[in-house]
């Protein structure tokens, strides 16, 4: 009954209908690893911005000051990329659950991937090129 956790990619099933798709294994693993990192990093981000600083205290100057340090730029870039890939993967699973028509699935997923790409590019652009 007790299943053992195995992170080794499975060889192609002998009776299967196609090659084993290890992408799902890596997506599953990525979601868990990024979950732990986001728990710590997004947790700190939220506690700092909302409890210690408070939404009212946030303005252009505060963020410009924070981005003077390369550490916080990297921190925000990391949050952006890991957060959005984690979210994109979750939405991909949800689309698979509710959109069954093959054509619609391709369309909805394409919209999702395009949105995620645009968002990551916008966020990375401002984090990396911002000059006060």
């Amino acid at each position: 009954m007790q299943a053992r956790l195995s992170l080794r990619p499975r060889p192609a099933e002998t009776s299967g209908t196609g090659p084993a798709n290890n992408l799902e294994l890596y997506a599953w693993l990525f979601t868990r690893i990024s979950a732990i990192l986001l728990f710590l990093m997004a947790g700190f981000h939220l506690v700092y911005m909302h409890l210690i600083l408070g939404v009212d205290a946030i303005n252009f100057e505060v963020i410009a000051g924070r981005w003077q340090s390369p550490f916080w730029r990297l921190y925000d870039l990391f949050l952006l990329i890991f957060g959005w890939l984690h979210g994109a993967n979750g939405m991909r699973i949800i689309i698979d659950d509710y959109v069954h028509h093959q054509g619609w699935r391709v369309i909805v997923k394409s919209v999702l991937y395009l949105l995620v790409l645009v968002i990551i590019v916008l966020g990375a652009y401002v984090i990396l090129t911002f000059q006060p």
Binding site: R32, A35, G54, F60, V99, H101
Partner: protein, 130 residues
């Protein structure tokens, strides 16, 4: 149409703790995703200087939006984070699966202990600023 019937079945299926935990995880996940679209768009406005950024930041300083943060975003992120940790624990230590319902109850206690004081803190800061 199938999407609606699937959604209906997801809500009405009686799977007790595990089912409720999963459903809330999904709903809060979608909610946080949607908020983050707005969040990246607003931070992108930093490129246009203080005038543009600070004038559009007024949305975040609105009373109603702050209420939404406390009772929507913060609540959703906290649930998703704690439930996610429970899922990771069960996935990496499969024998824990037998205790998933009990773990979820423990998780709800941790949720209340973390959420209630911080929500009070945020709400009192809101009223101080009025």
């Amino acid at each position: 149409m199938t999407a609606i019937s699937h959604l209906y079945r997801a809500v009405t299926y009686r799977g007790r703790e595990g089912h409720i935990a999963w459903l809330l995880h999904r709903i809060t996940g979608i909610g946080v995703f949607l908020f983050l679209v707005l969040h990246i768009v607003d931070i992108f406005l930093m490129s246009f200087g203080p005038d543009v950024f600070d004038t559009l930041l007024f949305i975040y300083h609105r009373f109603l939006f702050k209420l939404l943060i406390v009772f929507g975003l913060y609540l959703g992120v906290l649930y998703h984070a704690l439930n996610g940790i429970r899922v990771v624990l069960i996935d990496f230590f499969p024998p824990l699966a037998g205790y998933q319902a009990r773990l979820w109850r423990v998780q709800l206690v941790i949720f209340a202990l973390a959420y209630i004081p911080s929500a009070i803190l945020m709400l009192s800061a809101m009223f101080d600023g009025q």
